[in-house]
């Protein structure tokens, strides 16, 4: 005697948020039943395990049928198959596109290709996120990437409109897309201490200041690709380190300003040339895609690590970078103020974000 068929269909689609979460988290039906039992759902109403199993199966089926619609959320609003109230729809979408920070940290900056997808089981084992959930999250990244790739207009806004996501989630997706597109290296050991949110904030800075969209907002890929012209112009900054006089002049200006204001003054003075060379070199090499990928690792190696070994505080960093940036304006022969500001603005913000005491 076996239940051959068991379905329950409501005119208004019945969805239990707890079960939805379990499904999103990639639990199998049996695991979900166990989890629900542990959560005490049986105690709150007189039911047995069979009832729970039947309910869980029904809900899983419903979610599976809904999945197709969730993959293009705009359809969910005007499809006819499931009658779901608008606020429920919002919940379904938001949760479907939510992701685990631990997982996204692993794939951030990687190419969203089949190859990466094959590595998902390793990532799953490493992060403890179920493979099913990893796949969903990875596919979400890829889907969003594909859609916005071909769209004009601001990246965050596009994501929000196409996937009906909240502002916060849309921003996170923009970061993921941006990282995947530029293939920023984030997996190196030296970068492990950085969280996804750190990178997302940096991405926001880069998108707002260094992309084509920062200047012109109606171009394709405007927020995804870095502004090539700007990268070219960055080469001009070389003069700051190539010209010995200029470098010395810059150093003295900064040191004058900093003297007496920080305990780390000695280190700052000693390291000035090194640090300046590091930052300017990063700028001048950005025309190479390879070096763009290493942007964050370079920042860490060339600037953050030396500072950290000298025990600078976050306030020291701030002070130093502010004066470093501003002093360049006073340098007489230095003509590239605009480019310098555009470059240093982002570098400053990124370093603030990335410098953990």
């Amino acid at each position: 005697m076996a239940v051959e068929l068991d379905v329950f269909v409501g005119n208004t689609t019945i969805m239990d948020e707890e079960v939805y979460q379990l499904w999103l988290d990639g639990y199998t039906v049996n695991d979900a039943v166990k989890a629900r039992m542990d959560a005490g759902v049986l105690e709150e109403c007189e039911a047995d395990a069979d009832v729970l199993l039947s309910d869980t199966m029904d809900q899983y089926r419903t979610f599976q049928m809904c999945e197709r619609l969730l993959q293009s959320p705009a359809k969910l609003a005007n499809q006819l198959l499931f009658q779901i109230t608008p606020h429920r729809q919002v919940m379904l979408i938001e949760r479907y596109y939510a992701f685990d920070d631990t997982f996204v940290r692993e794939v951030l900056g990687k190419k969203l290709s089949k190859g990466t997808k094959k590595d998902l089981d390793d990532i799953s084992a490493k992060t403890g996120v179920t493979l099913k959930s990893c796949r969903r999250q990875f596919d979400n990244f890829k889907r969003v990437f594909k859609v916005v790739e071909e769209l004009k207009g601001p990246l965050v806004e596009n994501i929000r409109q196409h996937f009906l996501l909240s502002d916060k989630l849309a921003r996170d997706y923009a970061a993921i897309v941006f990282f995947a597109n530029n293939r920023f290296e984030t997996g190196k050991k030296k970068l492990q201490y950085l969280t996804f949110q750190d990178f997302a904030l940096c991405a926001g800075q880069l998108i707002n200041n260094w992309t084509v969209g920062a200047v012109d907002n109606m171009v394709e890929d405007m927020d995804v690709d870095l502004d090539k012209e700007f990268l070219q112009e960055l080469k001009e900054l070389k003069i700051l380190i190539a010209d010995k006089d200029l470098l010395d002049q810059h150093k003295s200006l900064v040191c004058t300003a900093l003297r007496g204001k920080t305990k780390a003054f000695a280190e700052m003075e000693a390291n000035f040339k090194n640090l300046s060379r590091g930052l300017v070199n990063i700028a001048t090499k950005l025309t190479n895609t390879k070096d763009v990928r290493d942007f964050f690792i370079d920042l860490v190696e060339k600037f953050i690590e030396p500072c950290r070994s000298d025990r600078w505080t976050a306030a020291d960093i701030k002070l130093y970078l502010t004066h470093y940036t501003n002093s360049a304006h006073i340098l007489d022969p230095f003509k590239h103020q605009a480019v310098w500001d555009r470059y240093m603005g982002v570098i400053k913000s990124c370093i603030f974000i990335m410098y953990h005491d």
């Binding site: 239940v3 051959e4 068991d6 199966m57 006819l80 009658q83």
Partner: protein, 1103 residues
């Protein structure tokens, strides 16, 4: 050429990718009606094509308009090969043919394919221009309104109820034609869908013609079914009740004017109205004795050539008293002659339509306007086993007609035996397995008020006194309609506990809904009897005989189970009883569902006593004692659960003490079960105490006990199964009727659902007992599942739980359930019955008002009648009066309990004063009417404009409201809006008014798959199919401009699977009424006030 159908194809969206190379589709649309086809242009390379076509015009007969659906096919253009079909939409034009219903169909329809399911949506506009056709010989019946609702639809009043309608059409099933061997499954499915759509269109048209011939304008309680007879064909049949409906509010002006003139005139010259005077006698209603009875009758007759082999059985469930265990005589052979005469009668009078309607005074309605239902006799049912043979000539479906005619005669004669002249809550169904078909019909024998019958609605004065006794509405229907001295079956009669003036039975079974005015104690609950019987596999006539022989035993056992479970819950009446017997190759399944209640008018049920066969065996006795204790505990618990505390009306009556003493002495004497004679004497001499204290103290087993004898293992099993039924968890209630007695403060949240479960019996050698257990568990588990799923809605009630069982294959049991969960407000559930009555009256629509107004008009015209007569009408009058005048409400609310107390104590004295008060009310009302009539012009003008504004509101506001609301809800998403469409199997949505009925929804779908595993197995397949059916129903309703489906039902869900071949097929048939509802507002009282004034005007003018 009386009609022009216009269709416009606007756009498509979410189309499937048909060209793998481009990931796009080159879609175009074919629009077909009858034999005419139009095509749109191809919209290349898009999944969201914008055709924006011209108007395609079809010039057609209205006959075709009724029969044919508009067929829209979406295709993918292919230059090199045949165009691929994406899917189809069938649109039923019928709602557009009725002036009062929808005027345009416009909206997004799911594009449906029988293999792939829903594949995108298409936006279509459809209009119809009808030309008047005065051809007397016309074959169409445009304009007749159809309602699935089994009551007078809200917002209408029944000017006349004409009677029973039946029709059936037969055809060959395309699935079984030779061509099916060479065509694709898709083509075959589509042929079938189209054929059934055509057949139901034709059926509806024919029924409509009958209605017109009878002089009616609507069909209420329309019930259409399909019989898939396999090789022998396809039968589509329908029954319904013909009515003349008048719309309230906007129509009130007209009706007010016609009443004084036409109605009395027709009344005067209408000879049948005199007929009505005699008919109660002719129909065998002897004097005023009434009593409720259950009588389930089963008759078996094989196919027309085969002789009648099984005796007709009538068994009465009245074994509640006495020591009737199983062996005593509830099984009783009904006189053969009775059936015989019935058959003769039919032969004599089966010609002519009107005669036919009169011949079968059957009503598919389950709830009635107040005053319509006079007495209820009990359930009548008939079954017949037939052998199917090929239908040779589809145009002459005589055999099937004859079969049903036979059954109906049977029903009629059973009703007669119960002293009733009508059958209400009537329904018919079939169960088919291979070539054997069980036809079943059941209903409730009743005596109806002739005023509302075909003869004329205002025929009040001429109706005979005897017949229409002035019983209070809260108990009148319980009074026995049959002769006390000549009872059709053994039953214990007592004086009504409500009015003390007439006899009532101890238990009442009915198929109808609980009348709104009935006095009920506590709450109700769903009661089910479940039964499995194995049978040997056999062929042909042998098989039919085997089944015939099993049927009476099944009915008997189901009945016993129902009775036991009813007693266990300490209740005394069943409503909405539906017994389904399903036949499979090697078993028969029986499922009886009903809602149990405690009717205040009926005596308190006795307990259940367990008796052992052998005395002296200590262990056995111990065992019996424990069981007895468990049963007693259960009864006590149930009483508390369902709040069954019968009112202590006679607490201060010295006789009560006397009665209690009597009981005590009885107990002392040690006679556990009083002899029926003795007891009835007791009841007559003393007011029986339904006092709960004595009830509890005397233990359930002693008084009125229903004895269960444990003489074999069967009996033990029975008792166990009795006790295994779990009561619903806290916060939940369940019933299978329209609403739950005892709950009146519904909130607006509703959740309609359909659930299907199929069980495979792995062990081939199961016994009856273990099968029963499995079946019972299946049903119980389903209920448990519902409670769990809907736990967030608590406190909530599952209403209209409609179970459907089938044996799709050997070793498979299928149960499908459709029901609605409705939430209610917890705080007010403890309302007193008296208050409740008023709320109910207040929330009812003005149909009551209309009826009562007629009454008022009449009683004022026949002013010289004896006062008792008036008092009878007054009790009817009051609920409506509340609607218009709060002043009257006060009087009313005090009046009802007073009435009950008074009449029970000293009927004659207080009755007069009651009547006096009534006449003062009447005076008051008449006075009011005069002021309205004679009053300033200003007043009447204002009332008129009010009426106008109401009607104009109705024409425009709902649509705009619906639209604007949906726009609002979708704003956050940008995309085009989807209207929320509510669905419910009930005739109403709580807290709302149905302001417009847009037409009937009657849809039939087939879905097939050859990739069962990929679709998630049978469960996945059926899950998505049911969801798709819901979606298509909602889309059609939305396109008609509606926002809800009421009286929704899934009549068929036939699933065939072959997992080995990775295939499955399913057929689903659903129906309901599309409506526009609005939240209840205070506009209502104003409108009814207007009606009131005008009708009163008219009525006064007539006198």
């Amino acid at each position: 050429m009386p009609g022009k159908l216009k269709a416009k194809i606007v756009a498509g969206r979410h189309l499937p990718v048909m060209d793998r190379a481009s990931d796009l589709t080159d879609a175009f649309v074919e629009v077909k009606f009858g034999n005419t086809t139009f095509k749109t242009d191809v919209f290349p390379k898009s999944l969201n094509p914008q055709w924006n076509s011209e108007w395609f015009k079809f010039e057609v007969d209205d006959e075709d308009l009724q029969d044919e659906p508009l067929q829209i096919t979406v295709l993918d253009h292919d230059t090199y090969s045949a165009n691929d079909a994406i899917g189809k939409v069938y649109i039923d034009i019928d709602p557009l043919l009725c002036t009062e219903a929808a005027s345009v169909i416009s909206g997004w329809f799911p594009i449906y394919d029988t293999i792939h399911g829903i594949r995108g949506e298409i936006n279509v506009l459809v209009k119809v221009e009808l030309f008047n056709d005065l051809n007397r010989f016309r074959q169409s019946s445009c304009g007749v309104k159809f309602f699935c609702t089994t009551s007078i639809p809200r917002g209408y009043r029944a000017a006349m109820v004409h009677g029973f309608l039946e029709e059936l059409v037969v055809n060959e099933d395309p699935e079984y034609q030779w061509i099916d061997r060479i065509r694709t499954p898709r083509a075959s499915n589509e042929a079938r869908q189209r054929l059934i759509s055509l057949m139901s269109g034709e059926l509806q048209r024919k029924i409509g013609l009958k209605v017109l011939e009878m002089g009616g304008n609507a069909v209420v309680g329309y019930l259409q079914c399909f019989d898939l007879e396999g090789e022998s064909g396809l039968v589509v049949r329908a029954i319904g009740t013909a009515c003349t409906l008048e719309k309230l509010t906007s129509g009130s002006l007209a009706s007010a004017h016609t009443h004084p003139n036409t109605a009395p005139a027709s009344n005067a010259c209408n000879s049948p109205s005199k007929d009505g005077k005699e008919s109660p006698l002719a129909h065998g209603c002897r004097s005023t004795h009434n009593s409720p009875v259950h009588s389930a009758c089963s008759s078996q007759r094989l196919s027309q050539n085969f002789s009648v082999s099984v005796p007709t059985l009538i068994f009465t469930g009245m074994g509640s008293g006495g020591s009737a265990g199983k062996e005593a005589g509830p099984l009783k052979t009904l006189l053969r002659q009775q059936t015989q005469t019935a058959l003769e009668q039919r032969g004599a009078s089966s010609s002519g339509l009107l005669l036919n309607a009169r011949e079968f005074p059957f009503f598919t309605l389950t709830s009635f306007p107040p005053g319509f239902l006079v007495h209820v006799g009990g359930v009548v049912s008939a079954r017949s086993v037939k052998l199917l043979d090929r239908i040779h000539n589809p145009d002459e479906p005589e055999t099937r007609d004859a079969w049903w005619e036979e059954i109906r005669q049977e029903i009629k004669s059973h009703a007669k035996a119960l002293g009733c002249h009508a059958v209400v809550g009537y329904s018919e169904n079939t169960s088919i397995c291979e070539e054997v078909c069980i036809l079943s019909a059941s209903g409730t024998a009743a005596i109806l008020n002739h005023r509302y019958m075909r003869e004329g609605c205002l025929d009040i004065g001429s109706t005979d006194q005897r017949f229409e006794d002035p019983s209070p509405p809260s108990c009148g229907f319980c009074h026995i309609p049959y002769d006390e001295l000549n009872m059709p079956f053994p039953a214990q009669l007592t004086y009504c506990y409500n009015c003390r003036r007439q006899k009532v039975p101890d238990v009442l079974f009915t198929t109808i809904d609980l009348p709104a005015e009935a006095a009920v104690t506590g709450k109700g609950c769903l009661i089910q009897a479940r039964l499995c019987r194995l049978k040997k596999k056999a062929q042909g006539e042998v098989n039919a005989t085997v089944i015939s022989n099993l049927l009476p035993f099944m009915e008997y056992e189901l009945h016993t189970q129902l009775m036991n479970k009813l007693k266990l819950r300490s209740m005394n009446a069943l409503f909405g009883l539906h017994i389904q017997i399903s036949v499979g190759e090697n078993m028969l399944l029986g499922l009886a569902s009903a809602t149990g209640v405690y009717l205040t008018a009926l005596p308190a049920p006795g307990g259940i006593q367990i008796a052992g066969k052998t005395t002296g065996d200590m262990s056995n006795e111990q065992h019996i004692l424990t069981i007895q204790k468990r049963i007693n505990d259960t009864i006590a618990r149930n009483k508390e659960l369902y709040q069954i505390n019968p009112p202590k009306l006679f607490a201060l009556d010295p006789e009560v003490f006397c009665g209690t003493n009597m009981e005590l002495t009885e107990e002392g004497v040690g006679s556990p079960i009083p002899e029926p004679r003795h007891r009835s004497r007791l009841f007559r001499s003393h007011s029986e105490s339904s006092d709960e204290v004595s009830e509890l103290d005397l233990s359930h087993g002693k008084k009125d006990a229903f004895v269960l004898e444990i003489d074999d293992t069967d009996a033990v099993e029975d008792i166990h199964s009795l006790l295994t039924d779990a009561s619903p968890p806290a916060g939940f209630h369940s019933c299978n009727t329209e609403t739950m007695p005892g709950i009146y403060n519904w909130t607006t949240a509703v959740q309609m659902f359909t659930s299907v479960r199929v069980l495979r019996l792995s062990n081939a050698n199961l016994s009856n007992q273990s099968l029963n257990k499995i079946f019972t568990d299946l049903c119980e588990n389903l209920l448990k599942s519902f409670y769990f799923k809907l736990r967030s809605m608590v406190p909530c009630c599952l209403c209209h739980l409609n179970f459907n069982v089938a044996v799709p294959e050997e070793e498979l049991i299928q149960v499908s359930v459709t029901a609605v969960a409705m939430t209610f407000d917890k705080d007010q559930t403890q309302e007193r019955p008296a208050e409740r009555f008023i709320t109910k009256g207040g929330s009812e629509t003005d149909e009551q008002l209309q009826f009562s107004l007629e009454l008022c008009a009449d009683s004022s015209s026949t002013n010289s009648q004896p006062s008792s007569r008036i008092s009878g009408t007054v009790s009817l009058f009051t609920p409506a009066a509340k609607l218009c005048q709060s002043q009257l409400v006060v009087v009313h609310s005090t009046g009802v309990p007073e009435n009950t107390i008074v009449s029970s104590r000293a009927a004659s004295v207080d009755y007069g004063s009651f009547a006096d008060r009534c006449s003062t009310w009447l005076e008051l009302l008449r006075l009011k009417a005069h002021t309205i009539r004679r009053g300033s012009v200003k007043t009447s003008r204002r009332t008129q404009s009010l009426a106008h504004s109401v009607s104009s509101l109705e024409h425009c506001s709902p649509l705009t409201e619906g639209r604007s609301r949906s726009v609002r809800s979708s704003r956050s998403f940008g995309g085009s809006p989807v209207t929320m469409v509510k669905m419910t199997p009930l005739s109403f949505l709580p807290g709302t008014r149905n302001i417009k009925y847009l037409g009937i929804i009657n849809m039939f779908f087939i879905r097939e798959t050859t990739s069962l595993r990929e679709e998630g197995g049978v469960s996945g397949f059926l899950h998505s199919f049911i969801a798709e059916v819901f979606a298509m129903v909602r889309a059609h309703v939305a396109a008609l401009g509606g926002n809800a489906v009421v009286s929704y039902s899934m009549k068929d869900c036939v699933l065939m699977e072959n997992p080995n071949k990775n295939q499955a097929q399913c057929l689903i048939n659903v129906s309901g009424d599309a409506v526009i509802y609005v939240r209840e507002t205070d506009q209502e009282p104003t409108a009814s006030m207007t009606n009131m004034g005008q009708s009163l005007c008219a009525a006064d003018g007539a006198t």
